[in-house]
Symmetry: C2
Subunit: 226 residues, 2 copies
């Protein structure tokens, strides 16, 4: 038997708006239905952001609570992963929903540039988010925007700051961060295998790189973010 | 004949104080003498930071001007590289000394974590520093604290934002950034050779990693930072 590939659906992200694509699910109800469709199509994890009524991103725990409740009802057994990403809030706001005890939450362990700004994940905030995840028994998905983030995740794991085994996502294709590059993808895989042989990994190609990165994952034993 | 190895002496950096080591040159006069000694010992480039009277780092152009004048007098022909690093100032302050037209200046093209904070190099500041260096005919030394910084430097070079050919320094051993790792060092070298075959590179191991990284550089065709 071959190894199963876990498909994680990111139904919205934090950037696209209805004005970009009317199909983008913005309200909690739309997000629940969109997740339900992906669940029926085979997605095992939902990576969730929530939005304010005007479509802009937020870390509002009340919205995350309603989303979680709806997904649990419509998609029994689906793994729920909340984003703690920096576009949706600043500082500890980003972890305010962790007390809802989602199965997983995303965790950036380093900083990098984004298209127009610095994606700021200062060491003390990273440690605080990791500690909250341990406290509420939330499994982190490490968002590796660069190579050193893999090393940092391994170090934190060895220090007992993260639930084991590691689950690492390689993020490629964000402007001013790591581009979609096959040699780097292969080096990421080899680095994970060398430093954390029991870790699982997946990869996300942003925008135009999505399908090509999905293919790389499926053919090399990784998991997928859609 | 074998390829010459350029030795770059970083006489002070921005962190160590007299209280750490009484030999750390702090005043402009001490820095000139320290550079002179390194020059006589074979260093071809001096990587320079300046300090306030209390030893803390600054980007003060007046101090950089005195330092440049002294080095030009005591070390004729030595290549002078000013640091535009973020420990010595914020925002455009960091480039205030570029109008002095040093031969080179350091340029971080991405952001990353440092031991206790984010090393912030937002895209617009990076572009501004690069444009100032073009304007004043200053050759940048790219400070690559992570793998994506090499890609970013190549992209900026292809866009005509940097004086060619690229000169890239791999920085390893800063806590919360890239550790000293031989596999990564080799992948950095291969990546530079693949993306920018005419580039030159060097590497710096911070603190305890210095000698080992120097040895890697000397034996693989790179240049050295002491
Ligand atoms: Zn996300
Ligand atoms: Zn439904
Ligand atoms: Zn420096
Ligand atoms: Zn002298």
């Amino acid at each position: 038997m071959t190894k199963p590939c876990i498909i994680c659906v990111a139904i919205t992200g934090s950037v696209p708006q209805k004005s970009d694509n009317p199909a983008v699910p913005i309200t909690v109800e739309e997000q629940i239905e969109s997740t339900h469709e992906a669940f029926e199509a085979g997605a095992a994890i939902v990576h969730a952001h929530v939005r304010k009524d005007d479509g802009t991103p937020t870390s509002d725990p009340e919205r995350f609570a309603r989303l979680k409740e709806g997904i649990e009802k419509h998609c029994p057994g689906m793994i729920i992963q909340f984003s703690t990403g920096g576009r949706s809030g600043a500082g500890k706001e980003r972890g305010a929903m962790l007390s809802l005890r989602p199965d997983m939450a995303s965790l950036a362990v380093g900083s990098n540039n984004f298209p127009t700004r610095v994606y700021e994940n200062p060491p003390d905030l990273v440690d605080w988010l990791a500690a909250e995840m341990l406290k509420f028994d939330v499994k982190p998905e490490i968002e590796a925007f660069d190579l050193s983030h893999i090393f940092q995740a391994v170090k934190m794991s060895e220090e007992g700051k993260l639930k084991k085994p590691l689950y690492i996502q390689f993020v490629m294709g964000v402007k001013n961060a790591m581009p979609v590059d096959r040699e780097v993808f292969d080096f990421y895989r080899r680095t994970v295998a060398r430093l954390a042989p029991d870790a699982e990994w997946c990869a996300a190609g942003i925008g135009a790189g999505q399908i090509v990165v999905n293919e790389w994952c499926v053919t090399t034993g990784g998991h997928c973010r859609t």
